[in-house]
């Protein structure tokens, strides 16, 4: 990561500068948040190229609408809301053609933790996408989003509620259903393996 990123002002200040047309401030925002935004987009769309497109589109929207950011929430919450909305639209469109075009994964029916411990290497993006799809693809959209934001992206229940514009109790209820489904899915996969 660029060491200059750490010496930049807080993100909320950078957005204010970007709203006044400061491209250097905007670049600082991109460099600071691109990896995390990418991780979120990737976990929703499960495709490296599509996730890049989502992040690019999200930052362009940040640039276009920087003046709308009021600073009442964290910049990251605003950015992740934008990323989530774009990624969801893309995932919906992709789900219609995925059956025809997706290249089958070569990952065997082993667990993600086993895959890590055997090779000692980090799991590749491709295997990761296959695993996320395998355990969460059958979830209803709301449950899947809650699972991705809370359990994979590690956001707080309050942040997830803000991003999805639902109540915290709705987030928890959906989390319960999602986690129960995932437990059963993992058991099925273990039995098959």
């Amino acid at each position: 990561m660029n060491s200059e990123v750490h010496t930049l002002p807080p993100s909320n200040e950078l957005v204010r500068q970007a709203a006044r047309g400061d491209k250097n401030a905007f670049r600082g925002l991109v460099e600071r948040h691109r990896q995390y935004a990418y991780a979120l987009a990737f976990r929703i769309v499960c495709d490296a190229d599509d996730a890049r497109d989502v992040v690019q589109e999200a930052f362009i929207r940040v640039w276009r609408h920087a003046e709308r950011f009021t600073g009442e929430t964290k910049f990251t919450t605003w950015l992740y809301t934008i990323v989530t909305n774009i990624a969801l639209d893309m995932a919906r469109a992709e789900s219609r053609k995925r059956r025809l075009f997706t290249v089958a994964s070569h990952l065997s029916e082993e667990s993600i933790s086993a895959a890590r411990s055997e090779s000692g290497d980090p799991v590749s993006n491709r295997d990761l996408a296959a695993w996320i799809r395998r355990i969460s693809d059958e979830l209803p959209p709301r449950q899947r989003m809650v699972f991705v934001l809370r359990d994979l992206q590690d956001l707080s229940v309050a942040e997830v509620a803000l991003i999805l514009q639902v109540s915290e109790s709705s987030v928890k209820t959906n989390l319960c259903y999602a986690r129960r489904h995932i437990r059963m899915k993992l058991e099925q996969l273990q039995k098959r393996g």
Binding site: Y38, D49, F59, D154, I182
Partner: protein, 223 residues
């Protein structure tokens, strides 16, 4: 605590999701209810699996090029905004009627240029339709198109994926094509096309497209 409540609290296992009193109640319930205790054990295993999945963060490949792409788009937005009718540069000493006519003429000129770009886009649409009918997977292809005869690399990449290539294979192949057509690769669509770039598209561009169509037909293998 009843079983229905316990089965809910079991799955709200991460810090801050339920108050500590509920956890204490759950522990007491599990000690007395074997069915819920069995579900708790099964759930714990899945929690570890999800933890592993969370730690395996997808890594952004070549972050510099992503930033460069975003900044290019942002520059483009600035240029397009400057092209609006009110901002067209006309000398202030002219009368308001002349200034208006001049602005109108300039707008017309910009319109003609835009039509030319869209004609190029039409040619690309036709190419994509041809590829669609030839691609072995069949079905609709919903790759977003952008203006210009040569599709941006994302579109080419998607087309190659349709032909059955893995993303890394598609990327290697595109890198190879870019290396063999350096003049084409140097053209930036965002800036519009000048006469030199149009000449390159008319010659090298056509050869490139033929080769690319062949690659799609053969699933990325050179014949």
């Amino acid at each position: 605590m009843r079983c229905t409540e316990a089965r809910k609290v079991i799955y709200l296992w991460r810090p801050g999701e339920v108050p500590e009193e509920s956890r204490a109640e759950l522990r007491r319930h599990l000690a007395a209810c074997e069915a819920c205790a069995a579900e708790f054990r099964a759930a714990e295993e899945s929690f570890h699996e999800v933890d592993s999945l969370r730690r395996a963060e997808p890594l952004l490949d070549d972050p510099g090029s992503l930033t460069a792409g975003i900044m290019r788009e942002v520059e483009g937005i600035g240029r397009r905004e400057r092209l609006s009718l009110q901002h067209l540069p006309v000398p202030r000493f002219l009368s308001s009627r002349v200034r208006l006519s001049l602005r109108f003429a300039l707008t017309l000129l910009v319109g003609v240029l835009l039509v030319e770009v869209s004609v190029d886009a039409q040619r690309l649409v036709k190419l994509e339709r041809r590829l669609q009918t030839q691609n072995p997977a069949g079905g609709a292809l919903t790759v977003p198109l952008q203006s210009g005869l040569i599709a941006p690399s994302e579109t080419l990449n998607s087309l190659l994926k349709v032909a059955g290539l893995r993303p890394d294979e598609a990327r290697t192949l595109l890198d190879d094509l870019r290396a063999r057509y350096p003049r084409l690769a140097s053209i930036t669509i965002d800036d519009g096309l000048d006469a030199r770039e149009r000449a390159i598209l008319d010659t090298e561009g056509k050869t490139f497209l033929k080769e690319f169509e062949k690659l799609i037909r053969t699933g990325g293998k050179n014949e």
